[in-house]
Subunit: 286 residues, 4 copies
Amino acid sequence: MDKPQDKKWRTKLHEIIYEADTPAGKLFDVVLLIVILASILLVMLESVKSIDSKYHSILNISEWIITILFSIEYIARIITVRKPFKYIFSFYGIIDLLSTIPKYISLFFGGIHALAALRALRLLRIFRILKLARYLGASLRLLSALRSSRAKISVFLFTVVIIAIILGTIMYLVEGEENGFTNIPKSVYWCIVTLTTVGFGDIAPQTPLGQFIASLVMILGYGIIAVPTGIVSAEYTSQSKKDKKEEDKVKPPLHLNTQVCENCSTENHRDDAEFCYHCGHKLNDE
Amino acid sequence: MDKPQDKKWRTKLHEIIYEADTPAGKLFDVVLLIVILASILLVMLESVKSIDSKYHSILNISEWIITILFSIEYIARIITVRKPFKYIFSFYGIIDLLSTIPKYISLFFGGIHALAALRALRLLRIFRILKLARYLGASLRLLSALRSSRAKISVFLFTVVIIAIILGTIMYLVEGEENGFTNIPKSVYWCIVTLTTVGFGDIAPQTPLGQFIASLVMILGYGIIAVPTGIVSAEYTSQSKKDKKEEDKVKPPLHLNTQVCENCSTENHRDDAEFCYHCGHKLNDE
Amino acid sequence: MDKPQDKKWRTKLHEIIYEADTPAGKLFDVVLLIVILASILLVMLESVKSIDSKYHSILNISEWIITILFSIEYIARIITVRKPFKYIFSFYGIIDLLSTIPKYISLFFGGIHALAALRALRLLRIFRILKLARYLGASLRLLSALRSSRAKISVFLFTVVIIAIILGTIMYLVEGEENGFTNIPKSVYWCIVTLTTVGFGDIAPQTPLGQFIASLVMILGYGIIAVPTGIVSAEYTSQSKKDKKEEDKVKPPLHLNTQVCENCSTENHRDDAEFCYHCGHKLNDE
Amino acid sequence: MDKPQDKKWRTKLHEIIYEADTPAGKLFDVVLLIVILASILLVMLESVKSIDSKYHSILNISEWIITILFSIEYIARIITVRKPFKYIFSFYGIIDLLSTIPKYISLFFGGIHALAALRALRLLRIFRILKLARYLGASLRLLSALRSSRAKISVFLFTVVIIAIILGTIMYLVEGEENGFTNIPKSVYWCIVTLTTVGFGDIAPQTPLGQFIASLVMILGYGIIAVPTGIVSAEYTSQSKKDKKEEDKVKPPLHLNTQVCENCSTENHRDDAEFCYHCGHKLNDE
């Protein structure tokens, strides 16, 4: 279907956009990172009334520039990938679309308030660029420590929620509506605010009994804050040891790069891979 | 007393209700879990004035449905267990009864406010279903880490309370009634709020000296929050090591199941057990 | 000077009051603990206006009973000890006196407000009784973990204070008097409130720049809360290991008892000691 | 250029001012520390309106005394160092100048408010004196633990900021301007206040949905507070082990002193060094 020359061009663009192993690919990621951060700053500034009324036209133009840049990038991503529909309906494909369209929609329907939210989703795009970070041993170990203690943290959070519901109901009965504990959900909310040691103070117990129970809740919260910390700490320590043991082994560590298969978008190929380990497609190894 | 056929039926029901090793038993637990969570949601929604006034009849009917379901379950539990009185006066037996009766009582005495509290106790029933969780190594280890550091956490909490009382009295003298520290118990309450880093702000020191002492209290609190965390963390680390050592031993770990003795309600029998290890009653091992 | 019979009686009383190895000595400590806790409760209740006005006479009588009990104990302590002046001017001797006299002073000068503070010092007496706790390995290890990380925690707290002063001054300049940051000490106070994640909310930044700096302060506080926890945790872990190694050694641990030398009040003698290791006085070993 | 006798005098003064190995050098540092702390206290007291109006002249005189002392020290530092310009434009050289000039400027321009900030920078001078602290093994290990976990803490803080921005935007949409979430930056600020468990309470969610999301934010914050603690704790533990291993090695540790090269201001020379390891200048070893 495509001429070989054309394919060559598409392959090169694919490498720049989707990968970060070549200088051009790295530059693309850095530029994209800056544009995303600028777009987030823009969304924030626009929400500030005093700034928006003063610099409305500048903000509007900047938003259009970013929207056009994102549009070009979006189209380039669709063109260069082998299976465009797979990309379009992937997680990042949808995020990319949602990051781009709000301004176009506002053309037809005016500035709908909730569109700001869609634009904030642009932040999620950062994680794609930060795939680089995955190759830092540090964050990898951190993630695996979190993952392996996920089950325990869930059990812990579940217990916290149960405690909050029971104590919240008790506080609702003790303090009553006249002291701000107007209903059980609000009491449970207060209980979570207190257990997590946030303590807004918008609702606070007024009766002596309520304050006594609140004291118990706080000391309890103080005591159980130790649990997730202890878990992650221990898990992380054991992870470090495991890592060190593995490092001691003679086998050289397998290095994975950021190359993305043109055909199936699978990532993390070995440096010496010539074919995609997932679909068998020939990887372009210039 | 019972015909053998009838006994067979009762035995089967006992297995479904009290145990979680068969598909039917697991299904029963999952359904019960959903009903309990629904009942808690109902208690919460009912306490919200605006929702209650709008959907009063729906909430009322839902509450009746849940009450009837709980009644059926309660009766089934009494019928299938060998020693009904032992069940009725057990911790979970009482919780089950208290979860069921509030709606019946309200028939005779009208909607007494405090009955909502009784219904919130239904949450405690969750722990029975979650006996499954006990078989997850993770939570087991977490529990044993907490248990073995219980003594130290008690010493720690005791020290916190003493510090709170002494500093609370000092703050009462320094700030006085005109700044919200109306009496010593309230001052101690403030001190606990501050030491645990909750900080509601409903009471806050106003005098320079009071703010200086408050600063010391906060830095102290910041310093001693490290203690329980350090304890649990160290304890948990040593637990992990012990576990690993035990895993390294050749003996296969003893697997306990959720079977409950029909006669004495003892739980956690070995998979190969044929008789209850507590009362010697024959276990039904289909 | 004393008749042998009389000395026998004094020696016995000394053992009951100062030590906790005999049943009578333990009973004395438990009773004293209850009286101290009751006296603290009394001080607290007296400060609550509504309770004091209602039950003034009951509280007054109870206070007199406790004062008389403390007086008897104080005199008994002076009589039974060999060197009364050493006891009187020791830390606990002064605490004991201050715990006893407020009520007598109030006879002559009326109910002076600040005397309540003196009475709160009674709480410190608890630590004497809790010398028992010292023999629990748990708290010993906890204390030694804290002691060995004392230097590091000091360095850490010093850094926190410097950060608080610099950031407090900046916030004073940024927010100014109109937003509650009326002077630098108050700004530093706010900074400590924020760094320690207490967050009363009585003073809160209002300007965008102030809120931005506050965000940095909070994230900084979030980051450095990890430091003392990490220190204690690591120290405690290494303590545990050291302890285990020492336990593994064959030598039986030296057991120290709560016996107190009649002559020089030195504590912690070996179980097989016949003479005080400090002054050489013969210990009474019934 | 200089006579040998004069050089001798300058060398001696250099040793006193810049180093802390001789008694005179230590005394100089202690006096300087006291003067700096006094100057900071002065800056603080001056900002308190009521104190300033009462004791204005005393504060003014004290400030002049400190300014003159700092001026003398600043000149002495310039004279004794070989390359004065290198010192003047070094970090501490600028801090020293900024600590000295505010009072002189106020002579010409009157008491400018913002000059107080410059004076607060004097605190930074403490770190120079505390170079002594660097020689405490404890703080060294603490610093190296922090340094080696710097990368991970950055990744962590970055994640916290992203979470805060996304959740802040959601809260802005949910709560809206009428509940205090007037714009996205303010919402993000609230989110950081909540995630870090500070919880001022100046802005608090009012709608049920907002409170539900806030609960999630708080529990999330509660969960992730464990991460930096776990990191530092694990890092610190492994640091301790490494240190112990190094201590076990036979080689005596290399002792570095506080001597500063007269020529290039390089610090931390070996005790047996005769020439600066950086510029080769002869060190004066009396």
